[in-house]
């Protein structure tokens, strides 16, 4: 039976997409979208790039114009945190003691910045970069900064580092791993990106970590590493990953394991509650059927569509192919599929330049493709992976071989 009221907790990319997809699928019931930020739903990707450079305004990062919500009868409640779920009476309690009743509830609570547990992390001019408010402050502070230290050489850290270097700031990035984006990309992709960041003037320090942030009085002045180095800094950005926002689900005894556990239909251990996006630990064919939690725009949007379809009576298991992108100055990195550490690699194109792809194979099967400034490889890889087309490492490495010819026409 189609639920009469669908409430969505979390007004990010995933939450907004559930609401939009429900209306697209001509769902006629009530849709309530609950967000704890003061802004209407917005895109996060530009916050570490175009928004910092001023090319993209705050209005331009909005996912939909304000009129959209009224036009399509989406009740957007902003700036109010959901604090409790009563699964028996099907009610969500908000921080101002108001209550939203639901027939079906979608948890799209996302993730938050992982805190840095060292002394001085609470000094002024030490920032994270996830929300529009954080990006707004950072943009302002960058104008007056000279020496920037970025803690964490993941996607956010490197996107920010590239933006800051382009604005002429002196930038140092440090990471506990031995290479950038160590958990996300192959060794060869890491090394090419490291080389290119250095060309931008970004200084990269690996196999080290921050021991404490130094400041006086109350404002950051530098950082000290565990191996005894001191780096000057008037601006520090921390990008050491995120933690999923599972607390609300945990307090109402939904099954949790890293994220909120869902089945292949993205349903939680309560049939009246679904979970999607960064917070959802879902089984994936691309991960041997094991549960995985993915933090990406693609995952947020495709899971939202999957749940919306189920709620209007068209259930289908979630099987979307994962894909991801990161723009770091002149480096347009795109990935599709999921990699593991034990993959066989084949390179297409020249890693001495800035345009090549890495094809990753496991047990002879293509499982992941990373492309740097080769979007056509990426687009084709998505079709090859989604159709489970057989590709050999030799074919992948041979630029004179048309991979497109492998697709059934």
């Amino acid at each position: 039976m189609t639920p009469k009221t669908i409430a969505i907790i979390g007004a990010g990319q995933a939450g907004l997409q559930v609401a939009a997809s429900l209306r697209e699928l001509r769902y006629e019931g009530r849709v309530v979208l609950l967000g704890d930020e003061p802004h209407a739903p917005y895109q996060r990707p530009p916050l570490s790039k175009g928004y910092l450079s001023g090319d993209v305004s705050a209005a331009q990062v909005a996912l939909r114009p304000d009129a959209f919500f009224a036009n399509f009868r989406i009740e957007l409640i902003r700036n109010k945190r959901a604090v409790a779920i009563d699964r028996v009476r099907r009610m969500v309690g908000l921080e101002d003691d108001s209550v939203v009743e639901y027939d079906h509830l979608v948890l799209a609570t996302g993730a938050r910045n992982r805190p840095l547990p060292v002394p001085g992390a609470d000094l002024q001019n030490v920032y994270f970069l996830r929300t529009l408010d954080e990006a707004a402050v950072l943009r302002e502070k960058m104008a007056a900064a000279k020496n920037v230290v970025v803690i964490g050489a993941g996607f956010i850290g490197l996107e920010f580092a590239a933006s800051a270097a382009k604005q002429g700031l002196s930038v140092t990035v440090l990471d506990v791993a031995e290479r950038p984006m160590a958990r996300a990309v192959s060794r060869v992709m890491s090394s090419v990106c490291a080389r290119e960041h250095e060309k931008l003037g970004v200084r990269l320090l690996f196999n080290t970590q921050v021991m404490r942030l130094l400041g006086e009085p109350g404002v950051v002045r530098g950082i000290e590493t565990v191996d005894g180095r001191t780096l000057p800094a008037d601006l520090v950005v921390i990008g050491i990953g995120v933690v999923p926002n599972i607390e609300l689900a945990a307090t109402c005894d939904l099954m949790i394991e890293d994220g909120i556990v869902v089945d292949e239909f993205l349903q939680t251990s309560d049939p009246n509650i679904s979970a999607i996006g960064d917070v959802a630990a879902h089984p994936s064919d691309y991960n041997h059927g094991q549960r995985v939690r993915l933090e990406s725009v693609q995952n947020a949007i495709d899971q939202a569509r999957c749940v919306a379809a189920r709620l209007v009576g068209k259930p289908a298991a979630y099987q979307a192919l994962p894909w991801f992108w990161s723009h770091q100055s002149h480096l347009h990195l795109q990935m599709t599929g999921l990699r593991t550490t034990d993959c066989q690699e084949a390179l297409r194109g020249d890693p001495n330049g800035t345009a090549f792809s890495v094809y990753l194979f496991r047990e002879g099967r293509l499982v992941c493709v990373e492309s740097l400034n080769r979007p056509a490889d990426h687009m084709l890889a998505r079709r090859l992976l989604a159709s489970r087309t057989a590709v050999t490492p030799a074919q992948a490495a041979d630029t004179s071989f048309e991979l497109k010819s492998l697709l059934a026409s």
């Binding site: 990707p45 996912l63 939909r64 693609q298 990426h378 687009m379």
Partner: protein, 106 residues
Amino acid sequence: MPKIRFIQHDGTEQVVEGEVGNSIMQTARDNMVPGIIGDCGGNCSCATCHGYVDPAWLEKLDPQSEDETIMLDGTMHQESNSRLTCQIKLTPKLDGIVVRLPISQV
């Protein structure tokens, strides 16, 4: 405000008004025009906002960037008048532009 005429693959038409400065993809999405997805939000990264611009309007558009050209190469149903609609910003002179949509985006 410039109007855009969207023609679906099955021939159904929808005319929507857009704002100058917004892209055709955004305008479609904000008005729930089916057939345009735009998952990456206009970052020229997903190629799911593919449309065919009526030849009469093609010359009024800014030329394709290299990024757009290579992303278009990866789409399923490319024609000579294919464009990524996230890369076309509305201007007053595009009032009345006609965009046909492919049978599918992926």
